[in-house]
């Protein structure tokens, strides 16, 4: 009888690729769920949507969404999307990838896309480590956490992605956890209706790889941590948006209007061609 059951969101998924590869208790499925929720609320035209991802567990998300999708090489999702968005500004280009992909190997692209204010929407599932390769230390791994490459505790200071994105000039910056599904969905809807470079960090549980090395064996335990520690501080100072075992500052931090790169570019092209006529 379960067979007959059709989930209301199944039309947004590539059924042939289901079930997804993610572990039990992994937050990536929730990110996908919220993303689809937002698409559904806004009745986004899937024919004009491009989902781009990089490498890592969450990288598979592009394949799962029933829209045009591209699974790029490690760290290059944003660079790829820059090309796609500029080539066809009509497209809604969304990059969904991981903390390692976007901020270690892909960090440079992130910074410059934000600086240029290219109209792509970046959603980062931050699980504090490299899950797919077995749990190595990454750019967001909290100090002192244990990973397969920091067996004695991490001594590298993690990025505050919110602060970074805001500093690079993103027009919208938000952080939620996978427990804040409603607000996350709300934020995704917001960025899908916004011009310019937008960034949403989703703090996401990785119980099997990160959690079990750091005294949180199940997704539930990690979600309970989110519930316990999260405080919504909308539009508070991004530099103070800490993530610690005691406190996870979540909320919308930046939401400003700024003309996108592609609009400036195409306006410029138009002007240039006006001038040419006068010649």
């Amino acid at each position: 009888m379960d067979r007959e059951l059709v989930h209301p969101f199944s039309k947004y998924l590539r059924s042939a690729m289901m079930p997804h590869i993610w572990c039990s208790g992994c937050g990536n499925g929730i990110v996908l769920n919220c993303f689809i929720n937002a698409l559904d609320d806004l009745q986004i035209d899937l024919d004009k949507l491009v989902v781009v991802s990089g490498i890592g567990c969450i990288g598979r998300i592009a394949g799962y969404t029933n829209a045009d999708s591209f699974h790029t090489t490690h760290g290059r999702a944003i660079a790829f999307s820059t090309g796609a968005k500029l080539a066809n500004p009509e497209l809604e280009v969304v990059v969904i990838s991981g903390d390692g992909d976007l901020f270690a190997i892909g960090g440079n692209h992130f910074m410059h896309a934000a600086r240029r204010n290219i109209g792509i929407k970046v959603i980062c599932a931050n699980n504090f480590n490299y899950g797919m390769t077995g749990g190595q230390q990454g750019p967001t791994t909290p100090l002192e956490s244990l990973t397969t490459t920091t067996p004695y505790g991490n001594i590298e200071h993690p990025f505050n992605l919110i602060h970074l994105a805001a500093a690079c000039g993103a027009t919208y910056v938000a952080r939620w956890t996978t427990l804040h599904v409603r607000r996350l969905t709300q934020s995704i809807k917001r960025v899908l209706q916004k011009e310019g470079f937008c960034f949403i960090e989703v703090v996401s549980p990785c119980p099997e790889i990160f959690g079990r090395r750091n005294k949180m064996r199940t997704g539930l335990e990690m979600m309970e941590w989110f519930r316990r520690a999260s405080v919504v501080e909308n539009f508070s100072d991004p530099s103070k948006a800490e993530i610690s075992s005691e406190k996870i500052v979540v909320g919308e931090f930046v939401n400003k209007e700024k003309v996108s790169y592609e609009r400036l570019l195409h306006e410029k092209i138009a002007q240039i061609n006006e001038k040419r006529v006068e010649w």
Binding site: D2, L5, H7, P8, F9, S10, L13, M18, P19, H20, W22, C23, S24, G25, C26, G27, N28, G29, I30, L32, N33, C34, N37, T178, L179, V181, R182, T185, T218, G219, L220, M223, E224
Partner: protein, 94 residues
């Protein structure tokens, strides 16, 4: 404000939460337990059975308590649960 009446509201038969029909796609469940844990009305529990993926999917223990906030649907990483409102005529029958 003064003490509330000691009887149910006069309109309690008319005004009540919608009738929920909870669907669990058992074999799609990976048993993370989010739906059970975060249901505000404690409608779900872990079942005894083991599904195709070798985990116990949730079972409905209090469908009447469900108010269709659909948080379970929203927080499920595996698209394994969703809730619809029971049509009224069925409402009458039962």
């Amino acid at each position: 404000m003064p003490e509330r009446i000691k009887h149910p509201p006069l309109d309690s038969k008319k005004v009540k939460p919608p009738n929920a029909e909870i669907h669990i796609i058992k074999d799609q469940c990976k048993g993370c337990g989010f739906c059970i844990q975060f249901c505000p009305k404690k409608v779900l529990e872990e079942s005894q059975e083991i599904n195709a993926r070798g985990v116990p999917p949730p079972k409905v223990v209090n469908e009447g308590g469900c108010v269709i906030c659909s948080f379970c649907t929203a927080v499920c990483p595996d698209f394994a649960i969703f809730v619809v409102e029971k049509p009224l005529e069925e409402d009458v029958k039962t």
